[in-house]
Symmetry: C2
Subunit: 135 residues, 2 copies
């Protein structure tokens, strides 16, 4: 995890390391605005490009929920190296109370079969009240 960038064969720069460390400071998914806020010195364009590179290398994945800003979260070890082969065993949960979006692991991931369809990938987004707020 410390030499993640070198493993992914991209240059290790202070900016990228700082973005990575911000991701690691949160257990949940975060939007660009959080990254911008946390960066010591931040350049809009460099951040966009960094996010694109991280997405392309499978370092992070994007969570797109209707009506929300895009959120980003660190990928698990076994994620693919690009967005198409990217695969995970978790769902994306949006808490309507605290607003936080998290990746939640499922023991048994639902299977869906549609006659005549070939299903390659499932993305499941749930919303409700998270375990922290639900007390």
């Amino acid at each position: 995890m410390n030499n993640l960038l070198k493993n992914k064969k991209i240059s290790e720069t202070p900016f990228r390391l700082e973005v990575l460390s911000i991701f690691n400071n949160y257990k949940n998914a975060i939007p660009l605005s959080v990254i911008e806020k946390d960066l010591k010195s931040y350049n809009r364009i460099t951040l966009y490009r960094t996010i694109k590179v991280f997405l392309g290398k499978g370092i992070i994945h994007e969570i797109t929920i209707s009506g929300e800003d895009s959120n980003y979260a660190i990928c698990e070890e076994d994620c693919g190296t690009n967005t198409h082969t990217h695969n995970h065993n978790h769902i994306h949960f949006k808490c309507n109370n605290c607003g936080i979006i998290t990746c939640v692991e499922l023991e048994k991931y639902p299977k869906i079969s549609l006659p005549n369809y070939k299903i390659n990938q499932l993305e499941i987004q749930a919303s409700g009240v998270c375990s922290t707020c639900n007390q």
Copy 2:
């Protein structure tokens, strides 16, 4: 379906009727670009506002898939009157071959339970090859 607008208690205007008829011409979800293309005379701003009103009244729903333009599809009869209570028994399927996004009904919709979580809503997005292309 013909007096949909009046049922929803919004004014019936030529523009809105034309947008509605475009939705009815497609069995699948469509992005704004398709609506723009099909409108005889189209005003960008009015279209945005029309879509917003349709969304708010539960006439259409938005399908947001990572990396795609937003798509819109006519809601079923039993959809709620706003986006929050909006509920459906279908998943959103993106065909990687033809690119078309459809709402596909499921006989048995998967249930997901997470310890300590309260799940109000599920949005399921699948991708692969649709029944038309898969032949």
